[in-house]
Symmetry: C2
Subunit: 187 residues, 2 copies
DNA sequence: CTTCTTTTTAGACATTTGTCCAGTAAAAGC
DNA sequence: GCTTTTACTGGACAAATGTCTAAAAAGAAG
């Protein structure tokens, strides 16, 4: 849990608050292929990925389509399920062994209400998330598959190093066959 | 400004808070084609649309691509510019005559800090926005243009009544030519 | 009502992207 | 190191979608 403490102390929390915050989280380990969120079940947790890679996906007539991948030091949740407290429309599972610092919605709301700075932290997290998600939505409308791949190559090359191409293809909204063509075109 | 007062009183604010809130907004009128946000300029305002239709768009080699449309009673902002206080990457303009209740980021933050319930309101607004934007992102990855059109037909038929098809097509990530084909297929 | 403008539809053809599949390469397990 | 599985590439063809364009339809203006 030292990592968690370090993360939040870097955000300016004092020792007293830090203790409260860290106590509200629990570290959960995941084996490769283990589920964090299952479609149809309500997921009341949001987490900070400690280690590993986690795949968001849905099954479309038996075939899996990846919609997102979370890696270390990013937040992870099935947003609609977490916020709306309703059954998830997607699955999230570990692509590798890993671990997540988890906090329930109830405990999160408690921290927000009890620690003024944590409210700012949460608002900031939400605002940053909106920016990221909206930029992705924007690109899906405005850019071609090839342009989205090039952008990822430019701005997030570390993802290309680690995430198997079949998953990336899906996130980019193209088939693996087509991603192979794109990669071929670019060189 | 009565509408604004009504909107927030429905959210449970008392008269004292209501006065503060309403005072923080100003109603701005827009003529058809007038700009609310211009690419390259920082937009420090978020608004609640009072009346009219507003188009988000970018120019891609001279051609305009619509990424979103806001109508009455929804919030409107160039998110990245508003949150990051950086130049906007998109344009927003009135598709019809209309008006927006505007509030600056500074005033918004003030309300968040001074009125506890307003903090909850803002957090809720952010959470709901994330859900909506993420669902759209999800659909752009997982559904075909035709399926996205059918979903809009099912879930937001009021948009189809009002928004010219050329703009809808762009929002759905297809060309007007293709949307015409889709509409033809469905009947 | 008539004219002018804007929006929508759709044909013909080009390009992009997907499907199916097999071969190769790479990784994991023993 | 060998075997088995998983990931990646690319050919051939099919389907989806885009481009260009003109005509029809609908809406706005006088």
């Amino acid at each position: 849990m030292e990592k968690l403490k370090y993360y939040f102390s870097a955000m300016g929390f004092n020792d007293n608050d830090l203790e409260k915050i860290v106590a509200a989280f629990k570290l959960q380990h995941f084996k490769k292929n283990e589920s964090f969120v299952e479609e149809g079940k309500t997921s009341r947790y949001i987490g900070l990925v400690d280690s590993g890679m986690f795949q968001y996906y849905v099954l479309i007539d038996g075939e899996e389509r990846t919609t997102y991948i979370s890696i270390e030091n990013t937040f992870i949740a099935s947003v609609l399920s977490f916020v709306g407290e309703i059954p998830a429309l997607e699955n999230i599972r570990a692509l590798t062994d890993g671990a997540i610092f988890l906090i329930s919605r109830v405990n999160l709301k408690k921290l927000v209400n009890e620690i003024p700075l944590f409210k700012d932290f949460y608002i900031n997290l939400l605002e940053q998330s909106i920016c990221g998600i909206d930029a992705t939505r924007h690109d899906l409308i405005v850019l071609s598959g090839e342009q989205r791949y090039e952008k990822m190559l430019r701005e997030e090359p570390h993802l290309l190093q680690r995430i198997p191409l079949q998953y990336l293809a899906s996130m980019l909204g193209v088939t693996p066959r087509h991603l192979s063509r794109i990669r071929n075109n670019i060189r």
